[in-house]
């Protein structure tokens, strides 16, 4: 590790636009080592985009992202891949490779980055699949899995290299209550037992409250609030209260910007 300080990831003055739409305007955020950090916010605020910026799948317009003291913008491809070997990422849709079965999907990073014997690879893969409850599905193809099962396989794949940093993009979507409970406990257990640092992007206020050590609420391109889930629940900020309590009325508009409804129905030009 380049820096053994408390902060694992530090984001400073981050700007990012997609076309004419500015997604982040001077975002500042830091993620502590060995903690579970949740990133929350209304739809379209750029939570997934933030994960893509942290992993340099995207490049910011301005600002810096330091991981363990390393400015990721300065890394060449080799350096970037070396850094990414320390990451595990669960994609929103699982992103399993569709031409190989569940077992081979989980074994994929091991086969690519290690020279472990087949027997050991089998042992590791089955252990990870057992942890997500899908050891029995090892021979199935991704097309034979439900959405929730595919995400659990993707979680096993994200864990298989025992990464230092695990990134979860909407990990609770499509999971039944039993699977969700198991996965929440698994995330917590991995973090505590292995000292992994976890970054969670989710809308699920209730589950985040039970698992996260620190929560950032992003709104309007900036951090609207941060703190423990309890602190956010009891905040006086109108934006935070509206989001945490799921209220329809408040500063965050439910409707996308649109012309006057009545005028539009009457066919009058409102521009």
């Amino acid at each position: 590790m380049g820096d053994s300080g408390k902060q694992l990831i530090e984001i400073s003055d981050l700007d990012y636009s997609r076309g004419h739409l500015q997604i982040f305007k001077g975002l500042n955020l830091s993620i502590e080592r060995s903690k579970i950090t949740a990133i929350m916010g209304p739809s379209g605020t750029g939570k997934t985009t933030l994960l893509q910026l942290i992993t340099r799948q995207l490049r910011p317009d301005a600002g810096t992202i330091l991981i363990d003291g390393i400015d990721i913008a300065t890394l060449n491809l080799k350096g970037l891949y070396k850094l990414r070997c320390r990451f595990g990422m669960l994609f929103q849709n699982g992103a399993l490779l569709t031409d190989i079965n569940v077992f081979e999907n989980v074994a994929f990073p091991l086969r690519e980055h290690t020279r472990l014997p087949n027997r050991l690879i089998q042992h590791i893969v089955l252990t990870k699949l057992h942890a997500v409850g899908l050891r029995g599905a090892a021979d199935l193809m991704p097309s034979q899995l439900s959405g929730g099962m595919a995400r659990r396989v993707a979680l096993a794949r994200a864990m298989v290299m025992d990464p230092e940093i695990l990134i979860y993009d909407e990990p609770f979507v499509g999971l039944d209550p039993i699977s969700m409970g198991v996965i929440v406990r698994l995330v917590r257990k991995m973090n505590d037992a292995l000292g992994i640092s976890s970054i969670l992007v989710s809308h699920d206020v209730q589950e985040i409250s039970t698992v996260a050590d620190c929560t950032y609420l992003i709104s309007d391109g900036k951090v609207a609030a941060s703190g423990s889930p309890d602190e956010l629940q009891n905040t006086s900020s109108a934006v935070v209260r509206q989001f945490m309590h799921g209220m329809a009325d408040g500063p965050v508009a439910f409707h996308y910007a649109a012309p006057n409804y009545a005028e539009q129905l009457l066919g009058r030009d409102t521009e």
Binding site: T55, Q57, L77, Y81, K82, R84, C85, F87, M89, F91, Q92, N93, A95, L96, L97, T98, F108, P109, E112, H113, A154, R157
Partner: protein, 254 residues
């Protein structure tokens, strides 16, 4: 109007430049991938080559049959029907074999490559590989490109051989051309340079068809419409590129 033409030309030059750099990147990675990922290449030779065999053989048989019929019909007017073997061999080895195989290859294997890569992109599989520190160019693109380049000459050879069989079937077995004359005329007329021209064309068409399919898939928009558009563009652009290249190679070999 002039400005639009200028923008179109500039856009074409930009795309051609990017495609050339992409091609150089694929070729530069090829030796390492051949050495370390031979299994993936063999799998792609099977996907692009073996799975295209039926369509190639059926088309080759009927194209050969048509050559037998047309050759007999035209040459018999000059009492030269014995030359139908040479006529079919010239047509198949130098032109029809490489060109029709390349067009069929673009329609069967090229579209499969472009849509597969496009769908991998749309479903985040390529991003997932990037995040697992696995370069998708090495793991996905180069094996498909090399597999296509290897398959295309073999398919063209099968097409030409089956085509000659079709021509023989029609000219000799149906129309009554003397079999000895059919083969003898072919042997005396064909020069090694005719065969090498055909081989050169199949390799060139294989490179063009494979790189265009991989390029279109990799640069497709990650949506259903984007993948569909990439698939269509693969066939259209490959067909145009193959026919232009065919003219250029023929002109050089003359």
């Amino acid at each position: 109007m002039l400005r639009e033409i200028w923008y179109t030309l500039a856009d074409f030059a930009r795309t051609f430049g990017a495609l050339s750099l992409f091609f150089v990147r694929l070729v530069a990675s090829t030796p390492q991938i051949v050495a370390t990922r031979g299994g993936l290449i063999i799998k792609q030779v099977y996907n692009t080559g073996a799975l295209s065999l039926v369509i190639i053989m059926v088309c080759g048989l009927f194209v050969g049959g048509v050559l037998g019929l047309q050759g007999y019909s035209s040459l018999s007017k000059f009492n030269a029907e014995d030359s139908v073997g040479a006529f079919a061999a010239f047509s198949l080895l130098k032109e029809l074999g490489p060109v029709i195989t390349a067009l069929l290859f673009a329609g069967r294997a090229g579209t499969a490559l472009a849509s597969e890569i496009g769908l991998m992109k749309a479903t985040d599989q390529l991003s997932a590989m990037e995040m697992m520190a696995v370069n998708p160019v090495s793991r996905v693109l180069v094996p498909r490109f090399v597999g296509g380049v290897i398959s295309m000459p073999m398919l063209a050879a099968v097409f030409s051989v089956i085509g000659l069989f079709g021509a023989h079937l029609v000219a000799v077995d149906l129309m009554g051309v003397d079999p000895g004359a059919f083969w003898q005329q072919m042997r005396t007329s064909l020069e090694p340079s005719d065969i090498s021209e055909g081989i050169f064309k199949t390799v060139a068409f294989g490179v063009v068809a494979s790189v265009l399919a991989v390029w279109e898939g990799y640069n497709s928009m990650p949506t259903a419409e984007g993948v569909s558009r990439a698939t269509t563009r693969t066939v259209v652009i490959t067909a145009i590129a193959v026919l232009i290249l065919d003219f250029m190679i023929t002109a050089v070999f003359l």
